[in-house]
């Protein structure tokens, strides 16, 4: 063989070009009816836009090139990892990405505090629109974290999560509408009723797994929506209007306090103090959720749920009560949906069943999957990306679902573990010498008195 080093390169270039050209042809065909065939609105005649075709083809051609290049790079890194694992020392994990770098920085705590402080003062300077969008995003963060307990931690695919969300919202709306109960009473009540409903649904489906569980929960979500649509007490599709915002110790902030502030500190009349209160409430709820989920994940119960996800038979053989673990996960996840539902109802002040469609469940699931199954920062970032990005891209709104779909495909190919992959706690054994307290410091989230060594380091679980 007299092959110059250029030969294989030329050959590969040729294959790549062929593949890219094929892709361009393929997409052109697919997009032909959508982008080329247009009807002239005035004359009603067919007015094909031929000039678009070459542009599209060239764009796809270049895109395909880039795409295949990225794919190749990815498969190369996968191969090199396998090689590294086959011999020699164990790999130190995958190459850290910018996300990992942020997560691992030693100044994580002050950074976190800074972000939190910024979030706290944000509503006082931002426009009501921004506050509203932020509330929605934070509601989805709560929902995502709640669903994360069910899907990410316990591996139970729940496609009807929106039913529990609706439960919380309707509990508040109905109790307020008929009995005049306030937000603060309804918040625990909504959470509790969602929990109970989670338990009730959980009991019969405890034996189901995977696809079957997904089908049952999906149906349950639809049943819930249909019941809400057809029930007299919920006023069907007309919904429930005039849901009261939360009071601040019984005072409507948009009443006297606002008037007072407008007089004294020149408060802009556009400022909605109730929305700011809701924002602060949901922010506090998110903080509470993060703490709870974190503690749960690193507790006996959370480990049981994780084990359930990994291998149900082995998990039982290790003495974990499957029924209890599953029910707990299911009911706990529902609790947070209920909480988020109450806040949601108070935010938009009018709810009807069309707020709780299957698309909502898909959205929340996408947040969990995109962010990273079982990873708390991942879910937060996933929610922010999926809620805030469409708001920012409003001028793109026709293509929103298209972009969304493409994003999901890319994620599954390039980062199947999610934006921030879930990481496990690192155990560092303290050598004896400290008496009975010599032992471990399983990293805690900042609440323990006894913590000889704090571990900020985490390892990705989907290496």
């Amino acid at each position: 063989m007299t092959s110059t080093p250029l030969r294989p390169f030329a050959r590969r270039l040729w294959t790549e070009t062929k593949a890219a050209a094929l892709a361009a042809l393929w997409i052109s065909l697919l997009a032909f009816p959508l982008m080329i065939l247009k009807i002239n609105n005035l004359t009603g005649a067919l007015d094909p836009q031929w000039s678009r075709l070459p542009k599209l083809a060239v764009a796809v051609f270049l895109g395909a090139y880039l795409w295949r290049f990225l794919l190749r790079r990815r498969s190369f890194s996968a191969v090199s990892k396998v090689v590294a694992e086959a011999g020699g020392p164990p790999p130190a994990g995958p190459r850290p990405t910018w996300v990992d770098l942020i997560m691992k920085t030693r100044r994580r705590k002050p950074l976190l505090g800074l972000v939190l402080a910024a979030l706290l003062v944000l509503p006082f300077f931002a426009s009501p629109y921004v506050v509203n969008v932020m509330i929605t995003a934070l509601i989805y963060v709560t929902l995502g974290l709640g669903l994360n307990i069910v899907v990410g931690v316990s591996g139970l695919l729940n496609l009807g999560y929106v039913a529990f969300y609706a439960m919380g919202a309707y509990v508040y709306a109905l109790l307020g509408h008929y009995f005049g109960l306030g937000f603060w009473l309804c918040l625990p009540l909504g959470a509790l009723s969602a929990t109970v409903m989670g338990l009730l649904l959980g009991l019969p489906i405890i034996r189901l797994n995977g696809d079957y569980l997904a089908i049952v929960t999906l149906s349950f979500g639809e049943i819930m929506r249909l019941v809400l649509t057809n029930l007299g007490v919920t006023r069907g599709p007309r919904g429930i209007p005039n849901i009261k915002p939360p009071g601040f110790f019984g005072v409507d902030l948009n009443g006297a306090p606002k008037a007072f502030l407008m007089r004294t500190v020149d408060l802009s009349p556009a400022m909605d103090l109730n929305k700011i209160l809701i924002y602060l409430i949901i922010l506090a709820l998110v903080a509470l959720t993060v703490v709870c989920v974190f503690r749960l994940e690193n507790s006996r119960l959370g480990r049981a749920c994780l084990a359930l996800r990994e291998d149900e038979v082995a998990c039982q053989a290790m003495g974990v009560n499957r029924t209890r673990a599953k029910l707990t996960a299911f009911a706990l996840g529902s609790t947070w949906a209920g909480l988020a539902g109450v806040v949601f109802a108070s935010q938009i002040t009018f709810i009807n069943p069309s707020s709780f469609t299957f698309m909502q469940s898909v959205m929340i699931l996408s947040i969990v999957v995109l962010g990273g199954m079982g990873s708390i920062p991942g879910v937060i970032i996933g929610a922010v990306v999926l809620i805030l990005l469409p708001e920012q891209l409003r001028f793109f709104s026709n293509y929103r679902m298209l972009i969304f779909g493409a994003l999901m495909v890319m994620m599954m190919i390039f980062r199947p573990g999610g934006l921030i992959q879930s990481a496990r706690e690192v155990y560092r054994h303290q050598p004896a010498g400290g008496g009975s307290n010599d032992g471990s410091s399983r990293a805690a989230d900042g609440d323990t008195g006894h913590r000889p060594e704090k571990q900020a380091e985490r390892r990705p679980a989907h290496a």
């Binding site: 790999p91 119960l301 480990r303 039982q316 053989a317 003495g319 496990r424 690192v426 032992g439 006894h450």
Partner: protein, 318 residues
């Protein structure tokens, strides 16, 4: 259970009083898994621990017993009236051709399948007898039966320590409230469990991988971790389902040492399903042979080796 109902392992009199094994398990040629090779072994190579230990074993020390245990799947009789006994702190092996029902037997013991007929009786440390039949697997584990699986079933995306901690689950108490509030008692329990798990890992040589994900361990270490995880449940009887499957000669040798260490250190009885005859014959005090769901022979390894029925089951008739 009544004393009379117990058939003692034949006292072979040659009490040399050693608790550790003779030096017979060194040679490379004895590693061959085939029975044929073992049948042709010289006598001194075929010395067994049973001779060493049986004088100390006696009938009242039975820890796990099955009476008439049967398992029927539709028309298939997977287990047919199995009477099985495991003595405290002994190593008992169950061998048999593929499909003989060994793993089904394990699944019946550990509650993964509910047995069709018969009883499984575990004698607790305090001497009380507990009927295991019909109990869910997690209860049985808590009562003191822990197992490993033929195909490794670790929690792949959790760390080695967490795998062992899940084994510790049934000995811990913290509930939901403890997890969320993380009170003093919960923290102490967590710490204790983590230390316990770490000590187990140190004792069985996996402490350097404590923070590795289970799926990243080498195969032999995964097998080892499965055993450690089972030990973390604090068992009285440890059930090992083909622990040597897929291990090479040196790994099998390490496994044999591991099994003996486990028996001595943890004071557990070990019930072993294994195809590797060199392992079974050197490590067991008593061997049961199963074929078509029935026990066809039982006794100390050297008797089993000579038993015509066993030879027939494995090699067929001439």
């Amino acid at each position: 259970m009544p004393e009379a109902a117990i058939d003692r392992p034949g006292p072979d009199g040659s009490a040399n009083g050693e608790s550790s094994l003779p030096e017979s398990r060194q040679s490379g040629n004895s590693q061959s898994g085939s029975l044929q090779a073992l049948l042709s072994k010289s006598p001194q190579e075929a010395r067994q621990p049973a001779e060493a230990l049986s004088p100390q074993l006696d009938a009242s020390r039975i820890v796990l017993e099955t009476c008439n245990l049967s398992m029927v799947f539709g028309g298939l009789v997977a287990l047919d009236q199995v009477d099985f006994r495991v003595e405290r702190q002994s190593i008992t092996s169950l061998i048999g051709p593929n499909g003989a029902g060994k793993t089904t037997f394990f699944n019946c013991l550990t509650g993964i399948y509910p047995p069709t007929r018969g009883e499984v009786i575990l004698t607790a440390a305090d001497g009380s007898e507990i009927r295991l039949k019909g109990l869910p697997p997690d209860r049985i584990t808590k009562l003191g039966l822990a197992r490993t699986f033929q195909n490794i079933r670790l929690f792949n995306n959790l760390t080695v320590l967490e795998n062992v901690l899940i084994g510790r689950h049934c000995r811990m108490k913290a509930g939901l409230l403890g997890a969320l509030l993380r009170d003093r008692r919960t923290r102490a329990e967590e710490r204790e469990a983590a230390d316990f798990a770490y000590e187990l890992l140190v004792a069985y040589g996996l402490d350097r991988s404590v923070n590795d994900l289970a799926k990243n361990l080498p195969y032999g270490d995964q097998r080892r971790l499965e055993i450690i995880r089972a030990l973390a449940t604090g068992p009285q009887v440890l059930l090992l389902d083909e622990p040597a499957a897929g291990l090479n000669i040196s790994e099998t040798r390490e496994l044999r040492e591991l099994i003996e260490t486990v028996r001595e250190r943890e004071k557990v009885s070990i019930l072993l399903i294994e195809h590797d005859m060199s392992l079974v014959m050197t490590v067991s005090h008593k061997v049961y042979v199963m074929d078509y769901g029935r026990l066809i022979a039982q006794g100390p390894p050297d008797e089993i080796r000579r038993e015509p029925k066993v030879v027939k089951a494995y090699l067929g008739e001439e």
